[in-house]
């Protein structure tokens, strides 16, 4: 195992090359640099649950196993985010299959908020918007998460999702309209 010290300003591509050559430290540094954004993507896609951590681990394990395929043509963050989105979409498909056999479908429409007046603090707006994001269908949810939560540009979002920019823009517009409808009964001041 190579444990030589790695300069702080080493680029992601340099770290990948070192990790390919067996540096565990370089791989840990890659994880440290990108884990927050990956957590944000997965959390945005599947909501707050135990699977966020499991999928996060799976993202880095998949990357580790196919590291040699990374040619540095896209940014490492974008590459990892693509894996995170794909794994999250798989999880959503699994949930959908499970829901077919349960009654969860019945609460799909609208937000599950028993008492809207209980939301008063500014932080509650964030919770309501997050809940609303979880009600979007996966293709609209993914553009909202990447563009508006993770802060990727429209071009990067379209590249990660492998869709044309025009499609990304129309999905963004539709998703925002749907979000507005969903949160309307709960956040009047917005």
């Amino acid at each position: 195992m190579v444990t030589a010290s790695i300069p702080d300003k080493a680029s992601d591509y340099e770290l990948v090359k070192l990790a390919i050559n067996g540096s565990q430290y370089a791989f840990t540094e890659i994880v440290r640099r990108h884990k927050t954004k990956i957590a944000s993507t997965i959390h945005g896609m599947i909501g707050q649950c135990d699977q966020v951590d499991d999928i996060g681990q799976e993202v880095f394990i998949r990357f580790y196993r196919k590291m040699t395929n990374f040619r540095g043509e896209s940014a490492l963050g974008t590459y990892l985010t693509r894996i995170a989105i794909n794994l999250s979409l798989n999880e959503l498909k699994r949930r959908k299959r499970r829901n077919i056999f349960s009654f969860n479908q019945l609460v799909e429409e609208g937000l599950d908020i028993a008492d809207p007046s209980s939301f008063e603090a500014p932080d509650d707006n964030i919770n309501i918007v997050r809940m609303a994001v979880q009600k979007l269908d996966p293709k609209h949810r993914s553009v909202i998460v990447l563009r508006l939560i993770d802060g990727y540009s429209t071009e990067e979002t379209s590249k990660i999702l492998n869709i044309p920019i025009g499609t990304a823009l129309s999905r963004l517009a539709r998703a925002q309209k749907k979000l507005k409808e969903l949160i309307k009964p709960y956040i009047y001041e917005l």
Binding site: T28, V31, I126, V129, I149, L169
Partner: protein, 144 residues
């Protein structure tokens, strides 16, 4: 017209507009309070989303990941494990077979008068094909 303006409003937040589109949208924003309200509402939703700081993974994420990765590496893959167990079992059988073969060949060479392939395998009057082909060997023995 309303649809075009609405499209431009959404597009303006995520992509650059042409100068014509920009002036058209700006004019509409000046004249329509409803459009301005819509624009402000959208901006607020986007701000809330951008601020919805997401909690990180559970503590010790890197450590748990490294443990999982390197313990996975130590475990052989199921197919490889099967191959390994077979090769380990057969290694002993093959080793025993080689010793028996050496003993047999040595015994035959010691007892035989002529050094030939037939004598190596305890055969007499048979060719090397007979030695390795049981059918030829059977035909040969019937003829004799």
């Amino acid at each position: 017209m309303k649809n075009i303006i609405e499209k431009l409003l959404y597009k303006s937040l995520d992509a650059p507009l042409s100068s014509e589109e920009t002036s058209l949208l700006n004019n509409e924003l000046k004249n329509s309070s409803k459009l301005r309200a819509e624009y402000n509402k959208l901006k607020e939703i986007r701000n809330v989303l951008a601020e919805s700081g997401v909690p990180d993974f559970k503590p010790y994420f890197e450590e748990r990941l490294t443990d999982r990765l390197y313990s996975d590496q130590k475990k052989p893959a199921p197919f490889n494990a099967l191959i390994n167990s077979f090769s380990y079992s057969f290694r002993e059988i093959a080793f025993a077979a080689i010793i028996i073969l050496i003993l047999l060949v040595t015994y035959n060479l010691k007892n035989g008068n002529i050094y030939s392939v037939e004598n190596l395998f305890g055969k007499s009057g048979s060719s090397i094909e007979y030695a390795f082909d049981p059918i030829q060997n059977l035909i040969g023995s019937n003829n004799q």
